[in-house]
C-alpha cells in the first residue's frame, strides 16, 4: 500500500493541532455513490482532446500526466468492479459541451483551445471504463463536478451522503470537486491512486487531504472496506488537511 503521507510533501499544518481527526466515513449502497471525474478521451487519451493541443514546451509534463492516467485507470477499473458488485450508484462526470462552438462551456474551459462535444469522439468515455445501464453520465461545463451538472440534486434524490471520488484532473478539477462536494455537506472518500493530476506535487498532495469529512484511501482499501465483514469505519486519520 502506498504511504499516506510523503515526507516533505505537506507543510506542518497547525490546524491539525486544534481540529480533531477526520470523521470516519462509512460506505454502503444506500448512502454512498462513486463519482468518476473526466474519464473521457478528451482528458485521458493522448490521441484525442487535450493531447492534441499540448505545446512542445509542455510535452514532458503532458507525457507524465498520461502515465499517471494509465495507472489511475487500472485502479478505477478495479474500483468500479467492486462498487458495482456492492450496488453503489456510479456517476461519470465529464467536461463536454452541447454546442460545437463550446459557447455553453465556462470561459476558462473554452480557453483550453479544444472543445469536447457531447456525442463526439473527445467526449467518449474510455472503453475500459464504459458506463453501463443505470450509471449516471453527466456533462459539466467547468472544472468541478457540482457547477452546472445537477450532480448535487441527483445525489440528494438518491439519499447519498458519501461520495467515492476518483478520475482525471487536467486542470485541478478533482481538488475543486472535493471542495465543492464537502461545501455541500457530502463526505468524500478520495482515492489518490485512482486519480491522475498534471503535476507531481499535486499528485502527492492528494494523499494529504484527509481532514474533516474527507477520507483518503487507496483503491485496495476502498475495496477492502466494501468487502470487509463490517463494511463500516473506512478511513483513519493521516496527514494534515489541505482545506482548512
Amino acid at each position: 500500500m502506498p504511504p499516506r503521507v510523503f515526507p516533505g510533501a505537506a507543510p506542518e499544518n497547525p490546524y491539525s493541532l486544534i481540529f480533531g481527526p477526520a470523521v470516519r466515513l462509512s460506505l454502503d449502497h444506500a448512502h454512498s455513490a462513486v463519482v468518476i471525474v473526466d474519464p473521457h478521451r478528451f482528458a485521458c487519451d493522448p490521441a484525442y482532446g487535450l493531447g492534441t493541443v499540448v505545446p512542445d514546451r509542455a510535452a514532458v509534463a503532458a507525457a507524465r500526466y498520461y502515465e499517471r492516467v494509465r495507472s489511475a485507470v487500472s485502479n478505477i477499473v478495479r474500483l468500479l468492479e467492486a462498487c458495482r458488485s456492492w450496488r453503489l450508484p456510479l456517476a461519470f462526470v465529464r467536461t463536454a459541451a452541447a454546442r460545437p462552438d463550446g459557447r455553453d462551456l465556462s470561459p476558462q474551459v473554452r480557453a483550453l483551445g479544444r472543445i469536447p462535444v457531447a456525442g463526439g469522439p473527445d467526449a467518449e468515455i474510455l472503453p475500459e471504463l464504459a458506463p453501463m445501464p443505470g450509471d449516471l453520465v453527466l456533462n459539466k461545463p467547468g472544472s468541478g463536478v457540482c457547477t452546472g451538472t445537477g450532480l448535487d440534486e441527483r445525489l440528494r434524490y438518491m439519499g447519498v451522503q458519501t461520495v467515492v471520488l476518483a478520475g482525471g484532473s487536467y486542470d485541478g478539477g478533482l481538488e475543486r470537486s472535493v471542495r465543492s462536494l464537502t461545501d455541500r455537506g457530502y463526505g468524500v472518500v478520495l482515492v489518490p491512486d485512482a486519480c491522475a493530476t498534471f503535476d507531481d506535487q499535486l499528485q502527492r498532495n492528494l494523499w494529504n487531504m484527509e481532514s474533516g469529512i474527507i477520507n483518503v484511501l487507496a483503491t485496495a482499501d476502498v475495496i477492502g472496506a466494501l468487502r470487509g465483514p463490517e463494511r463500516a469505519g473506512v478511513g483513519e486519520s493521516a496527514g494534515g488537511p489541505l482545506v482548512s
Partner: protein, 257 residues
Amino acid sequence: MRTGIESPFRRPESSLAPVLEGERAALLVVDMQYFDAHGEWGEGKTARGLRVLHAFDEYFTQLAEVIPRIQSLLAVSGGKGVEVIHVRVAELTNDSRDAGLKQLVRGLAVPKDSKEAQLLDEVRAIDDEIVISKSSSGPFATSNLDRILRNLGIDTLIVVGTSTAGCVESTASDAVDLGYTVIVAADACACSTRRSHAQALGRMAAASVLVASTDELRSRLDDLPPWTDSRAAASPGQSATCRRGFSQGPRRKTLTA
C-alpha cells in the same frame, strides 16, 4: 508570478489580461473576522487554550502584513465603482442549527451574533457594503452570492483575505467555474504557513485564476476613472461613498417608467 505548479494544458497567464472595469468588478474580502483572524477569539482562542498558539505564529505574522494591503484596496475601491463585499463564516442563527456539515464536524460553529462572526475592526464593513454569511469554505454553496453578483452586473472578482489554501482557494475555484474572471491579490492573503500559501497560489494559477500583487492591482485601480453615481450625487443626503446606493449604476437598466 511564478508559483512552481504549471499545467501542460494551460497557457501561462503573466499579467492582468482582462480589462478591469470598476463597475463590473467586486472586491471580495474573505473571512477577515474574529473567528479565524484574531489571536484572542475563535480558532486563536482554541489554540491558546490548547497551548499551541505558537504554531500559528507564521499565520498571524502574515495577517499583520496583509491587513494594511486589504485596507489599501478597500480605500480605493469605492471611488472606482468596485463593489466591496465582505464574506464571513457565520450561521444565520444563534444556536447554529443551520451550520454546514463540513463546519460542524470540526466544531466550527459561529453563531450570528457572536464576537467570532464580527469582521475585524481594521477591515469592517462601512456604509452600505454587503456582508455575506456562509457555512462552508467557499461562499457559493451556502449563500446567494452568485445571484447577487449577477444582479450587480459583476463579472470580475478580486479576492483577498484568509486562508489562501482554504476559503480563498475555494472561493476562487468555484468562481472560475461560475464564469467569473478571478484575480487573487497574493500578498493580501494569509495562510497557515508561507509554504501552503505558495502552493495554493500555484494551484490557483494553474486553474485559470489570475495571481497579482496588491501594488499591481492598486496601480490598475488607480488608473481607472473615478466612478460617480449621478443620481446619488444629485440626491441630497447621499454621500458619494454610497456607491450604487439605492440608485442604479450606469450599466443597469433603469426600471422607472
